[in-house]
Amino acid sequence: MTKRLLTAILPLCIALVLASAPLFAHHGNAAFDYNKKVTVSGTVIDFLWANPHSILRFDAKDDKGEVTHWVVEAGGPPDMARQGWAHNSFKPGDQVTVTVIQAKNGAPIGRFVGNDNIILNGKPFPAVSGSSSAGAPATPKS
């Protein structure tokens, strides 16, 4: 039974650890600066689970108390579900810290890069992180 248990779990572990295909190259990435990563913390407003991109919106407060309204995109549900995300992963009021690549024009708009850059309510998200693919497989429509 122990050998069978290992045989059942091991493929899943291997599958989660291996990097999946670089889906971010699926479509144009021209609007985002892949050399410009920023780390931002804030309070979740809402999470849109939809194609072409899932979108997390949160308010980040700086030292002076000024609020910046951030919009961060990930892939659509079929791709994010493979990485352990779900429609109810983020709820209004949750605390997040994210590292994203930012829009070239400096707007508080970003794109998630991989799954090892998100802290949700003090814990890494998703709970089992294995994929290093960027979260943008669907077509940006503009």
Binding site: A8, A25, H26, G28, G84, S142
Partner: protein, 305 residues
Amino acid sequence: MLKRFVIWMLVLIAASSLSPLLRAQTAAANTAGNDQKWEQVPPERSAYAIKKKSAPAPRRDISGIWDALASGGIEAKGAAEHPALIKGHPQDELGGHADESLIEHPLPYTDAGIAALKEHKPSVGVRSVGPALSNDPVNGCDPPGFPRIELYDFREMQIEQTKTQVLMLYELDANYRVIWTDGRQLPQDPGPRWFGYSTGKWVDDYTFEITTIGLNPKSWIDHAGRPHTGDMKVVEQFHRVDFDTMELSMTISDPKYYSQPWQALNKFVLHRLPDDYDWLEYVCSPSDNVDYNNLVGDPVSNNQK
């Protein structure tokens, strides 16, 4: 006797509690959300490779829920056998080329084919343009059509067989095809359809061959924008290798645009998923696209409204 009975009951209880783990050996991994039965995602390719030997292929049966994703069904740069990429440059950084003359596996374009190719502005491959300049019809939620439904974002599909048809259901945009197996001939002068007119037959007990014509030339063949006329003919062969594995090969003939037939897929592997597998929805919604443009697309492009 009582002691033996108790021991057997304990063994049975232990075995039944382990059954979910045993199912996990063959069931798809990685369910998203909170409910094990819904919104499942297929295993990575390595998980299929590790699994134990399959049962033999059933005769004249390609039914089931099949996973194309693990074998590279996304086909981000064009049909799997002919990506629009230059050798050694797997990404889009060489976009902007006028044609595909430098790609590693070039297609046999005629002059008319090259002219038609140049009308298409894809967002991927050596001819890629920025997203705002792309005229890819799926950007506006046009149907991918056939054969693009198997040459781009080819994820899960389900095949069912009736007495006179083979039905194919696809995850991408919830599209379907009807393949007639009642012996009818293809129409002589078909009006254009996004998914064409198809007839199918068994060439042997494990290979089902489909011929499709009457395809709407508004669709692109693949994500790299390969063009086709309304006279294109597509032949697929679904070959059942064993119970869990199928190979899909596809040949495209369109003499006005391509001087000879070419293979878009060559023994592309489909893996069988459990019969109770609920695949994800993946639908292009114009209003979702408007929302995305309002939230992200336009602001990052400085197209403020």
